[in-house]
């Protein structure tokens, strides 16, 4: 690793996740210390997406940077705000981690270490690369597998956990996505955009848990529209990449 301090932004998009954050945030203390020992300058921010509970207060009490949207803008906007903040802070790396306790903060060290050894543009913490006992509903697993196949079909890249929110972005991907972030569901679109613009994506098998408290954004009636909306988005992204062929890559 070079002597120059790298800047790592850790972004937690959160909407009414006060209960989960109470359990999750103390686990970051040792991880951040470890990162600082390894020569990283860390900036951890919670993007409070218009929560009506104590999400912002809990994050602020934990000494974290809190960026609060004045009202709920959705998951995509919350992640995008994190990208904008990381870019304004001139970060070298951006890590996104869910606020629901699915991801283990301790695994950040594994992701960063792997990233430094084998640099890519995006490193994804994957639930499905190895069987590590993650329990998933059949319908959801079928949906993820279907979209994984579609992404393979349109980009040629095999990514097993296409919806994982535990991701580490390199500087090139960070800068590109800060300016060109998807509007609706970012999971698939970011993958296709990055792959089509020549970025390298890799997965790292990690253990993940079920959400601690509350319900997932995919468990409401929106889940019915979700696959159709994503199919439409993938089609449009492909059209856009065909149209932009020859333009500068990130």
């Amino acid at each position: 690793m070079s002597q120059e301090k790298k800047r790592l932004s850790i972004i937690i998009p959160a909407y009414n996740e006060a209960q989960n954050l109470k359990m999750l945030l103390p686990r970051f203390t040792s991880v951040l210390k470890e990162m600082q020992k390894s020569g990283f300058q860390t900036d951890m921010a919670v993007v409070n997406d218009g929560s009506s509970d104590e999400t912002a207060e809990i994050a602020s009490a934990a000494g974290l940077t809190v960026i609060s949207h004045p009202f709920n803008l959705g998951y995509s906007a919350a992640v995008h705000t994190g990208f904008m903040h990381a870019m304004r802070s001139d970060s070298d790396l951006l890590l996104t981690i869910d606020a629901d306790g699915q991801h283990n903060p301790e695994d950040i060290l594994l992701l960063v270490s792997d990233f430094l050894q084998h640099p890519v543009d995006l490193l994804i913490g994957s639930r499905f690369l190895e069987d590590r006992g993650y329990r998933k509903s059949l319908l959801r697993f079928a949906g993820i597998t279907l979209f994984s196949k579609i992404i393979r079909l349109v980009t040629g890249a095999e990514i097993r956990d296409v919806t994982s929110g535990f991701r580490l972005y390199g500087k090139r991907a960070l800068r590109y996505l800060a300016k060109n972030f998807p509007q609706d569901y970012p999971e698939y679109e970011t993958l296709i955009i990055l792959l089509k613009t020549g970025c390298k994506i890799k997965e790292l098998p990690l253990s993940m848990n079920q959400r601690l408290y509350g319900t997932s954004m995919h468990s409401s009636w929106k889940a019915v529209v979700y696959p159709f909306k994503n199919l439409l988005i993938i089609f449009v992204v492909l059209l856009r990449t065909l149209h932009r062929k020859g333009e500068a890559t990130p």
């Binding site: 609060s68 803008l73 906007a77």
Partner: protein, 133 residues
């Protein structure tokens, strides 16, 4: 092709009156800044066209022939449907643009608020350390 609606003077007066009231209403909205000039102009234009089509028989005749529809009433329905559809599409585009702009503004508001808080804290810390000295 000659079976057009026979528009009576009474019908012309009613349509003309409604058109006039509608235009006055649009001007009122414009005056009260509840409608932008772009939208007001579009509505005034379409009102004038609709009123003219009823008052001037040859224009109605032309529009009916142009659409290829046999009856004048059907031609009016067709044009009304196309117009409403176009308005809905234009409004959908406008709403999408506005929601994107709102999203960006809200995101920047969040980021700037956070940065101001940071600067405030930093300046408070500087001030307090200055007092100690």
């Amino acid at each position: 092709m000659n079976q057009f609606l026979d528009v009576t003077l009474r019908a012309k007066l009613i349509v003309g009156g409604i058109g006039l009231i509608f235009i006055i209403f649009l001007l009122f909205l414009l005056y009260k800044k509840k409608l932008t000039a772009n939208f007001a102009l579009g509505w005034i234009g379409i009102t004038l066209l609709a009123v003219s089509a009823v008052i001037v028989p040859s224009l109605m005749k032309f529009l009916t022939r142009f659409s290829g529809v046999r009856f004048g009433a059907l031609a009016v329905s067709l044009y009304a449907f196309v117009f409403i559809f176009a308005v809905l599409i234009i409004f959908s585009i406008k709403i999408s643009q506005l929601s994107q702009q709102t999203r960006k503004a809200a995101q920047m508001l969040g980021i700037l608020e956070m940065e101001i808080e940071r600067m405030k804290k930093a300046s408070e810390q500087n001030e307090s350390s200055g007092h100690i000295k």
